[in-house]
Assembly symmetry: C2
Homo-oligomer: 249 residues x 2
């Protein structure tokens, strides 16, 4: 059994120590072994180590300290640009400027990212995903010079951990699995499945700090508000279109 | 180092042997340790083992034999339904009926899927992703009774391998990585990076069998045609909208 999977912790504090090129290469090679669509490998990984580019990315990733602290920042992109260029050079007529192709390439990029996260952890490195990547896809395209056919979908901060956090809790397994067909949740199911989360010490602390009535209100009013979600939905869809993935006719 | 990552092979022929409940549980538990957005766990996994439902899914997954052969089929869904129900029961006003929320939940589901693929392989099981999941999201919603807020994004066939395929080739690592900014590909770069793929024995066999001039034409004309991509783009976007994720104003 791959025990690494059970030991995953998101790391938000990093030592300044560099990751050697040899280790980085192993991690990347493990990454590209991930399953991908038709072996087209329609993704690219942008590696950021230089201070000036990292500072720009730190700024748009909501100035999260770890982006500057960690030696490595990898941006994972859905990428049909390279494949389309190959098609054209090989007398083939590509039809990959549509939403399905974008989503296919996004799946490829995300599976590679998770392989890389696991490989990095197996070398004693820590990782953190940056959900801000889709919110800020537009400035990321500019900072990283992404051409048409390329859209950033997630990022990983990677470096040696400078903290040893506890495992975060998860909902009970039965909360997220369904046998044969989807069994929708009754109010009693919800109460039961979220009981531990609702009643945890961390939840009580968060409610007090944020002056809210429930944990759910912290999500809806502060962390992931409708206002922000709508704003970022528009800008992300605009990037997908501008990068050439919305010709669906 | 997690050698499993380097030994991944997609398996398309399976023994009929069942996967024990104990092993399945370990795999699923490893799956939900994956990073996810704000620990909201906005995904669900539908487990198919019954013959009648598997037959229906086999039919819409382009009748690929392995779907019926393998004992397990897991369908991974972006799922805000459960989280939204919790929000409402906890006096919070959710705003997760937009594209960003769909994509966020899709990322969660895909990272869990890849953890499960890796965990399954560590038990000697084989896996195969089904790219047909997004093409056929509409019939899958019906077969699996998926409510609003739930969209299937990928599937995994899992079982004991009945074949031992070679590792598939990958492009050289430098083809998919970029240092600091994206360095676009010149015609010479494309020729160099795709040389091994263009000239492989498998490629020559495929070109002969399919009566095409180049491997790229097999992709554009047969495997992933513009006609199909446009058709599936429309239907997948329609599912995303119908399941309640396109209220972006």
């Amino acid at each position: 059994m791959t025990n690494d999977l059970f030991n995953h912790r998101t790391i938000r504090k990093y030592k300044p120590d560099a990751v050697s090129s040899a280790i980085l290469e192993q991690i990347l090679l493990a990454g590209i072994r991930a399953s991908n669509t038709g072996n087209m490998q329609v993704y690219s990984i942008i590696i950021t180590r230089e201070k000036d580019i990292k500072d720009k990315l730190w700024e748009i990733h909501f100035k999260q300290d770890m982006v500057r602290q960690a030696p490595l920042l990898l941006t994972f992109c859905a990428d049909f640009n390279r494949f389309v260029k190959w098609c054209i050079q090989r007398k083939a007529n590509p039809g990959y400027d549509n939403f399905l192709s974008f989503f296919t390439a996004a799946i490829d990029a995300l599976l590679v990212a998770q392989n890389i996260a696991i490989a990095a952890e197996s070398f004693g490195l820590g990782i953190c995903y940056l959900g801000t990547t889709t919110y800020q896809a537009d400035p990321i395209c500019k900072i990283l010079d992404l051409p048409g056919g390329v859209v950033p979908v997630t990022s990983l901060v990677i470096g040696y951990p400078d903290e040893t956090p506890d495992l975060t809790e998860r909902l009970p397994l039965k909360a997220v699995i369904h046998h044969e067909t989807y069994h929708d949740y009754s109010p009693t199911d919800i109460d039961e499945l979220y009981a531990e989360k609702d009643q945890s010490v961390l939840t009580h602390e968060l409610i007090t700090i944020n002056q809210k009535e429930t944990l759910a209100q912290i999500f809806t009013d502060i962390r992931y508000s409708k206002h922000d979600n709508v704003l970022f939905s528009k800008s992300f869809l605009e990037v997908i279109k501008n990068q050439g993935f919305m010709n669906n006719d």
